[in-house]
C-alpha cells in the first residue's frame, strides 16, 4: 500500500470535484431553467441525507415508537413547523431523542 500516493490521489480527486464549478464560475452562465431547478437542491439533498438516518436501522426500515430517532425527528419537524425557530427545533429535537432513548433503551 502506497500511502502517499493514496492520500495525494484522494486529495486531488476530492478537491477537483469541489473546485471545478467554482473555478469555471466566471465563464459559466446558468440558464433560468437550470437556476430554477437548482432551487430544489438544498431541501432535496438534506432530505435525502436525513430520511435514511432516521428511518433505517442497519439498512432495514425501523417504523416503531421504539425508534428514538424517528420520534425525535417528528418532534423536530413539529417544532419547526410551529415556531420556524431553528435553534429551538434542534434543542427540542435532541432532548426528545435523548429522553426517548433513556426511557426505552434499558428495556432493549
Amino acid at each position: 500500500m502506497n500511502e502517499v500516493l493514496m492520500i495525494a490521489g484522494m486529495a486531488i480527486a476530492t478537491f477537483s470535484i469541489r473546485y471545478v464549478m467554482f473555478g469555471a464560475s466566471s465563464r459559466l452562465t446558468l440558464s433560468p431553467a437550470i437556476l430554477s431547478a437548482l432551487r430544489y437542491v438544498p431541501p432535496v439533498v438534506l432530505t435525502a441525507i436525513v430520511v435514511p438516518e432516521v428511518l433505517l436501522s442497519d439498512g432495514t426500515l425501523y417504523l416503531s415508537y421504539l425508534n428514538a430517532r424517528l420520534v425525535g425527528a417528528i418532534a423536530a419537524v413539529t417544532v419547526c413547523a410551529l415556531t420556524r425557530n431553528l435553534l429551538l427545533t434542534i434543542v427540542l429535537g435532541m432532548l426528545t431523542f435523548f429522553g426517548w432513548q433513556g426511557l426505552f433503551s434499558p428495556l432493549g
Binding site: 430544489y40 432535496v44 438534506l46 425527528a73 423536530a76 420556524r84 427545533t89
Partner: protein
C-alpha cells in the same frame, strides 16, 4: 443562535452592511450543531484508521488534505481489505460526486469572488458547509460579505475535524462507543429544521417527498450514490410538477 434568517431583519433597518468579522463569526457559530454531529465520526475515524494499517502521519494527513468524512471511512475499510491505492482514489472520486450538485448551486454566489477565494471555499465545501452557506446566501439581505460567513463555517468544521481525528488517534481506544452517543442525531435535527421552511409550495413538497422515498429505496447503492439518485429524482419531480401546475393555471 444558528439562524441566518435572523440577520436580514436586523440589517434592513441598518444602513451599514454586516462586517466581515460579524459574518465570519456568525458562520462559525451557526455551524455549531453540525460540528457536534461530526465529532463522533472524527473520533471514530482517528481510532479506526490508525488501527487498520494507516500510519499516524497518514491518518492526520488524510483528514488535513482530503477532508471528506465519507470517503475517508470508505478508504479505511478498503485499506483493511487490502485494496490497491488507485481503486481507493477512484472510489473517493465517486463518493464525492455529490459535491458537484452543491458547487453548481453555489456558482451564482461565488462567481464574483477572486480565484484565491474560490480555491479556499472549494476546498472547504462539505455537506455541512453547503447547508449552512446556501442558507446565508438565500437570505434576502444584500450583505457583500456572505463569503466570510461561508469561510467561518467551513473553517470551524475543518478545525473540528482535525482535532477529532487527533483525539481518535491518541485516546480513541479509551473512548467507549462514540458511535452510540447519539450526537450524530444533531445533524439530522438541524437538517430537518432547515428543510421545513422550504416546503411552502406544492412542487417543493413533492420534490422533498420524492427525495425522501427514493433515498430509502436507493440506500443499498454503493458509494453514497443513493444520495445522488434521490437528489436528482427530487429535483426532477419538483421541476416537472411545477410545470404541470403552471400549465393547469388559466392564463
Amino acid at each position: 443562535m444558528p439562524d441566518a434568517h435572523s440577520l436580514p431583519s436586523n440589517t434592513e433597518v441598518r444602513s451599514r452592511p454586516i462586517s466581515r468579522y460579524t459574518e465570519f463569526w456568525t458562520g462559525a457559530r451557526d455551524i455549531f450543531p453540525l460540528i457536534v454531529g461530526a465529532i463522533p465520526f472524527g473520533i471514530i475515524f482517528g481510532t479506526l484508521a490508525s488501527s487498520n494499517g494507516l500510519s499516524v502521519g497518514g491518518t492526520l494527513a488524510m483528514s488535513a488534505f482530503v477532508f471528506a468524512g465519507s470517503s475517508q471511512f470508505i478508504a479505511v475499510g478498503m485499506i483493511a481489505a487490502g485494496t490497491g491505492w488507485l481503486l481507493i482514489v477512484l472510489t473517493a472520486f465517486i463518493v464525492n460526486l455529490r459535491h458537484l450538485l452543491y458547487s453548481v448551486s453555489l456558482v451564482p454566489y461565488v462567481k464574483p469572488l477572486s480565484p484565491r477565494w474560490k480555491v479556499i471555499l472549494g476546498f472547504l465545501l462539505t455537506d455541512e458547509a453547503f447547508a449552512i452557506a446556501i442558507r446565508r446566501y438565500e437570505a434576502h439581505d444584500r450583505s457583500p460579505f456572505k463569503h466570510w460567513y461561508y469561510l467561518g463555517a467551513g473553517l470551524a468544521m475543518y478545525i473540528n475535524w482535525q482535532l477529532c481525528t487527533l483525539l481518535g488517534i491518541t485516546v480513541g481506544q479509551l473512548i467507549p462507543n462514540a458511535a452510540e452517543w447519539g450526537l450524530d442525531f444533531a445533524m439530522s435535527v438541524t437538517f430537518l429544521g432547515m428543510v421545513v421552511p422550504y416546503v411552502k409550495t406544492k412542487p417543493m413538497g413533492i420534490a422533498v417527498g420524492v427525495a425522501g422515498v427514493v433515498a430509502l429505496l436507493a440506500y443499498p447503492l454503493p458509494h453514497k450514490l443513493g444520495l445522488m439518485v434521490a437528489a436528482i429524482a427530487g429535483i426532477a419531480a419538483g421541476v416537472y410538477s411545477e410545470r404541470l401546475l403552471n400549465a393547469q393555471r388559466p392564463a
